[in-house]
Symmetry: C2
Subunit: 971 residues, 2 copies
């Protein structure tokens, strides 16, 4: 079929409406019974409402009848029509000319076709209530059905008065759409340039053979109230037939309507030159049609629209290749052949990671790539979704800042405390978000850095070296090393990180998040021990008294001074009223606490647990709420977007209501370094001997590796192709700023910052965009991420000003924030293929979801792959728990080595599905294709890898290894 | 088509297997690629596994090609075949005879067709591991594919040796199935009488036109390893064709395989006399086929099998009526006409409630109906499901017994306490379960009875009448009244209870359950107040001391005696060590408690909340677990069945682990009346004046109404047709036993018992049976309820012996049981249509589920109906909270009056969908049909009700009422 190939002209989308002829009281009228934008919506007769959009299931019979109708009926293409009566006149004229209908029926047919049209419109409840009141007077009008007054109402009965004057007065209504049409909210669902096709079917008693007409107007014209919405009509299909076969006519109407909204057939209909073109279009449609056997499907079930339909272009190309569309059951029939065609898309890191070979070549390209996006990076941030993202990430960031700040303070004797942590986060984060290559990445303190600082502080304390100065020099060295890495395009090596490595890293980080959240929760139980022996009746025996120390044991003054450490208050200890002292005071002044209740703190632990678990589970439920049936889509989306905020608010509210003294978020309120003996600026010289400045190169190297791995792997995860990022990434630029910020932070004595995987993933998740579904029933598609710099900058600015927000923040209990942490960890796990594969272990194979890789890789091999990943993770987890944690990011390199070894266990085919291929292999293949003749031997070897079956054999080289691993796991 | 009409003979189910010819190394072999029991399962080539069962989507093209194949190919019907080689010989013979293939191809074709068959079998992981080890030696065998050794392996290559001797030695394998076939677990999924149809398709290089054969054997024969399972083959379809069109052949193979499992076509295939019959069968199939437009559906999506498919008989009848199957979109095309056909099934209470008019007629029928079931009532109880049901209901019952026992004890000064409650529950329950008409009903104390007892006790105390004796006489009178009601078949009036009344009652009871559970939980917070001002640091200031009363205020001896009430211990109060006393002792001896912590009890309230909420949510999650993908179906079902037990165990465990003194279940351990001054038997005479014996007739009347309504409405709910009970019910018999037990309980001084709605529903829910799905992909159907007497009897026997179980039961915390209560309430709400309709308020109409009534009744009317129900419930709820609670069941009569009034607001059509029609209306209709001529006027009126449109008008009579009601709600 040639017509469909010259598709230089775009045809408009068609909106199809089917009206059937029905008798309402004594009046005949056309009543809308179904409509199509892409899927069918039917008027539920009894329910007076639109059905859900569904796939039109047709009967083969009706399609054949339609074909016959078009063969025998009138086909008028490019008719010059300006009003319905004129068009109908033209049609009847033609039919009379061709001798298909006798002249005397002319008027009758015309009369019937010009009856008024009644549309099913959706009305708000208050309007339908008003109608209810009205309609009590005129009972003949159906409730909720809105009569379109397109044509004047003729009260006279047609069938009683055969010689009735023709209702030509009807065409006085202009082409301007009626108010009801304009008010119709359904218009929003129809594309702007759409045209309408109207299908009119009905049975009348004066015909003895069907009257069929298919009309294409030369210009799309608004034909009064013919269509529900003010969309100009282009096509008109009319089927009037003898009585008794209403159902059959209906089916034919549905068939042509379905055809009209089919992308290919509508093309054909627009371009058809004659009747034969249309028939050929139907035949083409029939050839592509999907058939369900009647015994396996109930035709009454309405099929929900699928997530995705094949695009028209694809169908066209399939057809032009003269191949029958491949049915789901048919794949693999060719045995191996068809599989190679279906190889998954290759892992593409894009040109961002190409090795330029020039000095700063990568950095230059990064800047060149990102600069044009800068304006849009700013204005695209203004969206309601950004608010929820900012709140969510802000809370995550300050919790992180407080946690790490507290830990750093402990580790470094408050040289870097919570205050420094806040300030550093704000500074580094906002600068990074403003200038970096990938502003979706959130900088934060990370575990390895914390451990490094701890070891460093201990080292310097033990060796009498000034910690801050040493740290400054390490920072400077590390910054220089980073810049060297940037200048030499070293980031290109992360090309060798495949899904295996990424997943290993990110799930490990997620597990750490989860375990940290739970650990914190458990520590609450230790911090606020519960008195499990408490018997309500013996409340009288529970007390805690502060007893004065034995006066004989110490001379009051010296002992007191020694105990309090810093303060030298001239207090007379013996004069104290010991029973009035608080617990802390008592211990401070050397008293001892005696009593059953001293060790215990009531309620707080359990309340903390309720807050923690409540926040987590409420967030999870609200996130899921997007998929529930309740409330309109927009509201649901809002609830889902703000789920974390709403959960936090709820449980902060609950906590305030209970009024218990749960541990609250405490942010520093004064702008000064945590330790009073340090200033805001660290001087580079003076405190340490000169060789320390040079020797700090060595620890700096470790820090550089730490930072490089941590930063770049997070960046790879953020830039994953699943996230559909459009503005490109900038690995070199990112590393540049991380290096610069490191030096800056070192000078200011602030902690060092690097990309935080989990928070960055949370950031991306909270900024995901979905298409607003256009045609009813079409699934919203994931469009990408709102890539901009505003949310990041706002988060860090807020973090900076948190010092002033302390009065508000102090209401937030810590367990609520731990709940948020837990959620972040769990959420970043879901969606990882590795996690899906772990779940497969628990599913019997018949219940497993239809993942693409399961269709192509044997389950055993999938399980083996997962098992190796789990083993790697377990090893990493154990290592992380030892002092080796400091070289943790370096261990990622170990993962990459394991991945390299997997090439020996798995075939390239399996790896392509489960993982990605390593670049060398791809390169090798490319080379093979280019230089076929060269390197005979090498090629032969590579070719072996290529061929499907041979690869299987290769994978069998290590069956014993495989056997051993699997057995080891089962034991 | 005539053949399908004489269906006196039942045709066996067909199992279809499709094998395709594939080259494995240098060998040709037939490899199984798909199979059908009812739905298609495909071998995932790469995944080496069976796909999920799905609906076979065919291409129209392949169906037409198949039709052509059958027209041109060889069709051999009723061939006498005993082995594959002989059958193949016969086929080739025929083809050669007809000149369709040249003689020289004979051997080649035969050779190809006799190649070995390899089946895809599912193996446990350890076997596939063993295979893995083996296969390392012979790399040509594919992993996981189990070679069927049906035919001897011929190592020689066919294509290299054209003149090869024919492999006739193959037929030495007997008809006995191979061990691999017998081991195949898939056999369980195939019906016992099934026969196989084998489809063999493949491409060969020596043919230039297709070789097609369709064979029906005279006798189904096991043809060696042809079929995956040891099922005898009846049909054989062979398609060999020239190379290059493998996909097309595959599709044809799938088409014939799908046809063979179609109920109607397989009938045709069994009965076909000639080729034309088969062709006609295909045409018939094509006529019924469901067509999906290619633009609205992606053929790659595998369609999940539907919940239900139209039965073959229905399809047959539709076809014989010469009507095209009605498509989902087509309904309502006839405008009102088609709707009347689709009226919902009528509410049927069956002959159980027919008014016999004879003395004890109903009772006699009940006994006659139930007696034959008695043996099965006993042995059908032995099932694993019963254990979980017994445990669940037992816990519900004892919780109820303790709760009501406690409340009754309070209300009657312990004349009836927890002990009596236990004993009564056990006695009444087990007798009822043993002899009643509906043993699924669980007897329990109910709220109205409790209130009645309370009022009665107060009355008798104030008027100096002996309570126990009065109660006995009321019991006797009430019993007699019940017996009169039984004798006069009075239960027939509950016919007038429609869904409206049932739903109102049962949701009210559910709400009471839920609110009680929550109230109890809240009261825990009052009972164990939390000290919200507690500051951990000031632990030293929290104490509670017992201070001795001021010695000047009272003379120690008298005052002490007065305060303690009963005991006259000669204790010297002044000599007490007041600080050592417990709270209770302190108050007992007149001390006063002073201190900040006296009023508070730490941790217990929060712990109770965690236990309560945890039990509830864990039960809900585990119940839902049945629908998850994890674990095999059986395990999931077990988890779901035992969900309540597992939750209780978990949280009892947690409670024990924490060791907190949460309130525990306390059952009496000694067998004696709660009040020491009453015995086990109440004497009827002696304590009250004679007129009391007669006057107690009046309160007895109230009790009778209470009991009658409470009992029978619960019975109606239990006997709902949705529960698919098969053994009938026995309203009269039930009432008889309730009456008798009432008298018995009165004599023993035990509480009165009546059917408990919520626990009975829970009982039924825990005994629901589902069919084990047979064909892969078929949905399990709800079969009914395990109707037996064992679970009920066990529950009450256990309740009786609970006194001895106290050491175990004392570990169960009360909040856990409140959680179970909450679950019971919520679970009995779900599944009520009323509840579904309430949810509709929150859903935008496009997201509403496709309920049948929504297709037929306008949403406004549905909402209005729901609103009226909500209003009624609210009124009942308010009344229940006042002293009117005593006439609560009488208010159900009020609901029935409201329902009667609804006839004026709603049309009969709407009511038929939303509710059930009242019996008069039905009767009237019946009368109308019978005596058309009689009562002209009455008939006319009734007819108005009948006609659809007129009914609408009737419903419009009260539009203002409707308007007012809806507006009132919106405000």
């Amino acid at each position: 079929y040639i017509l469909s190939e010259d598709d230089d002209m775009h045809t408009p989308t068609l909106f199809t409406e089917m009206d059937t002829l029905q008798r309402e009281g004594d009046e005949l009228e056309w009543k809308e019974t179904a409509r199509w934008v892409k899927f069918e919506e039917k008027v539920e007769e009894g329910g007076e409402r639109w059905s859900k959009p569904h796939v039109s299931t047709l009967s083969l019979h009706s399609l054949f009848e339609l074909r016959t109708c078009l063969q025998t009926g009138t086909v008028l293409l490019d008719l010059e029509g300006y009003s319905l009566p004129q068009i109908i006149d033209d049609i009847i004229e033609r039919q009379v000319e061709e001798g298909m209908i006798p002249l005397e029926l002319r008027e009758k047919i015309s009369f019937v076709l010009l009856r008024k049209h009644r549309h099913q419109t959706k009305k708000p409840i208050h309007r339908s209530l008003a109608d209810m009141g009205k309609s009590s007077s005129s009972t003949s009008e159906l409730l909720g059905l809105n009569c379109c007054n397109g044509y004047a109402l003729h009260g006279s009965k047609f069938f009683g008065v055969p010689g009735h004057t023709q209702s030509r007065s009807m065409n006085n209504i202009a082409e301007t759409p009626s108010p009801d049409q304009l008010k119709n909210k359904f218009m929003k669902k129809i594309p702007r340039d759409a045209e309408a096709s109207n299908v009119l079917v009905g049975e009348v008693d004066f015909l003895n053979k069907p009257f069929v007409a298919f009309v294409r107007l030369a210009q799309a014209t608004t034909l009064g109230g013919l269509t529900e919405v003010p969309v100009p009509t282009r096509f008109l299909f009319i089927l009037l037939g003898p009585q008794g076969k209403a159902k059959s006519y209906n089916e034919i109407g549905r068939a042509i309507a379905t055809l009209m909204v089919d992308d290919l057939f509508s093309d054909v209909a627009y371009k058809a030159r004659d009747r034969e073109d249309l028939i050929a279009g139907i035949d083409e449609f029939l050839d592509e049609v999907i058939v369900l056997p009647p015994g396996e499907w109930d035709p009454k079930i309405r099929i929900e629209p699928p997530k995705k339909v094949p695009s028209a272009d694809k169908r066209k190309s399939v057809f032009s290749l003269n191949e029958v569309g491949q049915m789901n059951g048919a794949a693999g029939g060719g045995g191996g052949l068809s599989e190679d065609e279906e190889m998954p898309e290759q892992h593409e890191l894009g040109e961002e990671l190409a090795f330029t070979g020039r000095f700063c070549g990568g950095l230059y390209l990064d800047i060149k790539r990102k600069l044009p996006w800068l304006p849009s990076d700013l204005y695209e941030g203004f969206h309601i979704q950004s608010i929820s993202a900012v709140l969510f990430i802000y809370l995550g960031c300050i919790t992180n800042a407080i946690t790490f700040g507290g830990l750093l303070g402990d580790a470094t004797d408050n040289y870097q405390g919570v205050m420094e942590s806040f300030l550093g986060t704000a500074l580094a984060g906002s600068v990074f978000c403003l200038f970096s290559g990938q502003p979706l990445i959130i900088l934060s303190s990370t575990g390895p850095i914390l451990i490094f600082e701890k070891l460093l502080y201990e080292f310097s304390k033990n060796n009498g070296i000034d910690y801050m100065e040493l740290r400054l020099w390490i920072g400077i060295h590390s910054c220089l090393q980073c810049l060297i890495l940037v200048a030499s395009d070293a980031s290109y090596i992360i090309k060798y990180m495949t899904r295996f490595t990424e997943e290993g890293f990110s799930s490990l980080i997620s597990f750490i998040f989860i375990s940290d959240a739970i650990k914190k929760m458990v520590s609450t139980f230790k911090y606020y021990p519960i008195n499990t022996d408490f018997k309500p009746d013996y409340v009288t025996t529970y007390k805690c008294e502060c007893l004065a120390p034995d006066p004989g044991e110490f001379t009051p003054w010296t002992e007191f001074v020694w105990r309090t450490g810093t303060s030298y208050l001239p207090l007379n200890v013996t004069a104290l009223d010991w029973s009035q002292l608080s617990k802390k005071e008592c211990l401070k002044y050397g008293g001892s606490l005696v009593g059953k209740s001293c060790k215990f703190v009531p309620d707080l632990a359990l309340m903390s647990f309720i807050l923690f678990f409540g926040t987590y589970s409420m967030t999870v439920s609200l996130k899921k709420f997007k998929f529930s049936r309740y409330f309109p889509t927009k509201l649901r989306k809002l609830i889902s977007d703000f789920s974390i905020f709403m959960s936090i608010m709820t449980f902060v509210g609950l906590d305030m209501l209970m009024g218990l003294k749960t541990p609250k978020l405490i942010v520093p309120t004064e702008f000064k370094p945590t330790r009073s003996d340090r200033g805001w600026l660290v001087m580079p010289f003076g405190k340490n001997p000169w060789w320390v400045y040079l020797a700090s190169f060595v620890p700096a190297l470790l820090v550089t590796i730490l930072i490089f791995m941590d930063q770049q792997i997070s960046a790879v995860i953020v830039n994953r192709k699943e996230n559909k990022l459009k503005k490109g990434c900038g690995y070199h630029l990112d590393l540049f700023w991380v290096g610069v910020l490191m030096a800056a932070c070192s000078f200011l004595g602030l902690p060092w910052y690097v990309a935080a995987t989990v928070i960055s993933i949370a950031h991306i998740d909270s900024l995901k965009m979905e298409s607003e579904s256009s045609a009813p029933g079409e699934q919203p598609q994931f469009l990408g991420v709102r890539e901009q710099r505003i949310t990041g900058i706002l988060v860090f600015v807020l973090t900076g000003v948190s010092i002033f927000l302390a009065p508000i923040l102090k209401f937030i209990p810590m367990p609520v924030l731990y709940g948020v942490f837990l959620y972040m960890g769990v959420a970043s796990l879901s969606g990882i293929q590795f996690w899906d594969r772990i779940k497969l272990y628990l599913m019997p194979s018949k219940h497993q979801p239809d993942f693409a890789y399961l269709r192509h890789v044997p389950l055993r091999r999938v399980h083996l792959f997962t098992l190796i990943q789990i083993t790697c993770l377990a090893v990493l987890w154990v290592l992380k728990s030892t002092f080796l944690a400091i070289i943790f990011p370096v261990m990622i390199l170990g993962l990459m080595v394991v991945r390299k070894m997997l090439d020996m266990v798995f075939s390239q085919h399996d790896l392509a599905w489960l993982d990605d291929l390593l670049p060398e292999k791809e390169k090798k293949k490319d080379e093979d294709k280019k230089k076929r003749k060269e390197k005979e031997k090498d090629k032969k070897k590579a070719k072996e890898d290529d061929s499907e079956d041979e690869v299987r054999n290769v994978s069998l080289c290590c069956p014993l290894l495989e056997y051993w691993i699997l057995n080891w796991c089962l034991l």
